[in-house]
Symmetry: C2
Subunit: 454 residues, 2 copies
């Protein structure tokens, strides 16, 4: 898979217009690798190189470009040529792309497309982002249930070219209602009996997705049932499209990244970190940082309420960050375990009592260990904490904060889910912020309880 081509050489070929070499450069490698090698070219250079590939290869290479590059090409290159390319793109990718392209350019491109493709685009664009409808492709293999195996093979040879997959062939009646599925594998193993009717070999009772299902749920279904593709149907079970395994892999990766960003209080990015503009990043991070800062103001407020106590027992101060961070850490662990459990379908909202019980026990088990560590730490670090009257302040605070952290961390995402919100909004910094405030409250009250009498 070694490739001797570099950007300057491609540029030289363009300058010299060496057709044979440019053609070689488009076809020598897997289209995905070719796309990588062309990363550094401008939109115009890229487009000129692509003219030397046959149409199918051009479409394939284009498919592997990063979205910003695709957008730039569509927005700047000759519109008749671009329209030809767009016609050949997979129907789901085409819509994702056009959704990002400048609105006016799309308006000028659409009339240049064949009417069937234009209708398809307008139709798919009407589904909201994040739903099955927006991810599906409308190019799938579809046969009537009355055909025989032999007829099916003939038909597939004609259909094969424009389709994303022919490995699942969907069987429909004359109203386009989904009746069943015949896999290419079944077709092959029935080749010996070419007169068998499809309806006699098809699988029924298929797993389907509805067109407005959430893409994350659809991805879960495909993963659960190990499907190559899932049919997307409307309320009348009419076939609208399919979602294939490669789109599911993308959805799973996309959602995982989004969840990770949310868990660190960053509003999900649409592009990669390095290509997102600084202003967008500033807004997506700053919004949450500011909210968290305002929440953190509450800690200053609570501490100012207890300022008298802190002046009287100054040694309490040095343990504040330690005590409140234990609560935050415990809360993060619980929240993350519950959120990932819900994402993978292991924990349902109805399991809340089991979760609470487990977290209670876990809080006490871990609280005892950390409480003991707190006891030792307190005695070592501060003379005052060593007094019999004060000795229990740190360990009891740590224990209570840990138990409280485990319950808060576990309950907040369940509560969010129950209220119909995304539990992943319960970001780690948010849980930590709540625990900071609760921690100060617990700390000051435990301290007052033990120390006020003396």
């Amino acid at each position: 898979m070694y490739n001797p081509l570099f950007l300057p050489e491609i540029r030289e070929m363009l300058a010299e217009n060496s057709v044979a070499e440019l053609r070689e450069c488009c076809t020598a490698l897997h289209p995905a690798r070719t796309a990588e090698f062309m990363e550094g070219l401008t939109a115009e250079e890229t487009w000129r190189v692509l003219q030397h590939a046959d149409e199918a290869t051009r479409v394939e290479i284009f498919h592997y470009f990063e979205l910003p590059k695709q957008i730039e090409i569509v927005e700047t290159q000759p519109q008749e040529e671009v329209a030809g390319l767009i016609t050949k793109l997979a129907s789901d990718d085409r819509v994702d792309l056009l959704n990002e392209v400048d609105h006016e350019i799309v308006e000028r491109l659409l009339p240049l497309l064949p009417s069937e493709e234009r209708r398809d685009i307008l139709h798919l664009r009407s589904y909201p982002e994040g739903t099955a409808g927006a991810v599906m492709t409308t190019a799938f293999a579809k046969l009537a249930e009355t055909l025989t195996i032999r007829q099916a093979f003939d038909e597939l040879q004609h259909q094969a070219e424009g389709l994303e997959t022919i490995y699942y062939v969907y069987i429909v009646d004359d109203q386009d209602t989904l009746r069943g599925l015949v896999s290419a594998r079944q077709l092959v193993s029935h080749m010996g009996r070419p007169e068998t009717k499809l309806k006699d070999v098809m699988e029924t009772g298929l797993v389907t997705a509805e067109v407005d299902d959430d893409q994350e749920e659809v991805a879960q279904k495909v993963a659960r049932y190990d499907l190559l593709a899932i049919p997307v149907v409307d309320m009348q079970r009419r076939m609208l499209g399919i979602i294939t395994y490669d789109d599911v892999i993308d959805v799973v990766r996309e959602e995982a990244t989004e969840d990770a960003h949310r868990s660190a209080a960053v509003a999900p990015l649409e592009e990669s970190y390095l290509t997102t503009s600084l202003i967008t990043l500033w807004w997506k991070r700053g919004m949450w940082l500011s909210i968290l800062f305002l929440a953190a103001l509450m800690t200053a407020f609570s501490l100012s309420v207890y300022q008298k106590n802190l002046e009287q027992w100054a040694w309490l101060t040095i343990f504040i960050p330690m005590v409140i961070s234990s609560g935050g850490n415990m809360g993060n662990q619980s929240a993350t375990l519950v959120i990932t459990g819900m994402t993978s379908g292991d924990i349902r909202v109805t399991d809340w009592l089991r979760v609470v019980r487990r977290e209670c026990v876990m809080g006490m088990m871990l609280g005892s260990v950390l409480g003991l560590m707190g006891l030792i730490a307190g005695c070592v670090m501060s003379e005052e904490a060593r007094q019999p009257s004060a000795m229990l302040v740190i360990p009891l605070t740590v224990m209570s904060v840990i138990v409280c952290g485990s319950l808060t961390g576990a309950m907040l995402p369940l509560l969010f889910k129950r209220m119909g919100l995304d539990p992943a909004l319960m970001s780690n910094p948010f849980v930590a912020g709540v625990m900071d405030i609760l921690g100060i409250f617990i700390y000051m009250n435990v301290a007052y309880l033990f120390l006020a009498g003396y």
Copy 2:
């Protein structure tokens, strides 16, 4: 897809031994759903129900059980029958299962398996977990390059039954070296020319995985190139197995969950949250909580160093949690953006300078906003912070802490990656812990700078 069967009814059928009903109950639904409905049965009841399914369905239903249930069945049910089932499982699933089953039972089961399956298991078990070798299946469609299209169809009809996918057919020479690939789709579209040789239609220059590649990298490749399956080869490019899209979806989900757990400082769990034993959870959470607690002790230590200052300017105390949490929040954002960027391949270690530059600018942009908020907060909350001499302490501290947080959060994962460690080990609580200590240091020094003169 409505199912009228419930556990008590299944139990009644078992008690009455109603063969027809039990058979119906095994075959009426998709095997994955049947497996869900049998969730509540004991291992013995499950096994008795499964006896009423034909062999292929039994294997399919079993495949969809959760791992703990599979293990229980294998460990408790009659070994001859279990051995029959294991023979029919997909070769990768089989190994995953046997790796979890009690060692002695595996030793007794292995001799009961046909020698080919036994060798296959021993062979696959020799690959370390997390590598391509451990995820691959050895059952793939393989044809000699000298065959014609017609011969290929004949051959595939025989091979089809035991294989996980026939949609990619791998073409090998007589040393088993991988030469190319013919997709089922290409076979179908060449049906009209049955005498064409496979070597004349096969694709070459395939994307492959080596047997000891990391499973995460392999998953990235499959996603990048939109593959249905990726061939796994040894150093001599001999075909050892394939990894199919459904295993890739599982790997992506598994790794995302592991990363989420790590980011909240929980050692990755092997099972789901609800089925993991409390002792295991206690250990996997406690270990990290204790490490973080010890790190947090450092904050107590630093504060005790500055205790004199804090007694002199007591008003500084109430802003401690707010100031240090801003640094932690910013650090978490940066660390998560860099880690997810590296996971998805958008950020490489060589991009470190670009990342640092971006984070510097971002730190200053966000630092100014939060510094301003800090200025207002300080003036509102505390009379002392309103004095001209002290007014800049909070805003300048917040700004420095934010800039410092963005750099620390971005550099730590890059550094870990550079040292060959998993950047996801750079958990959010760990970054927050580091920022707590740094935050206190910055706060106390900025304060001293402004206040000591008066």
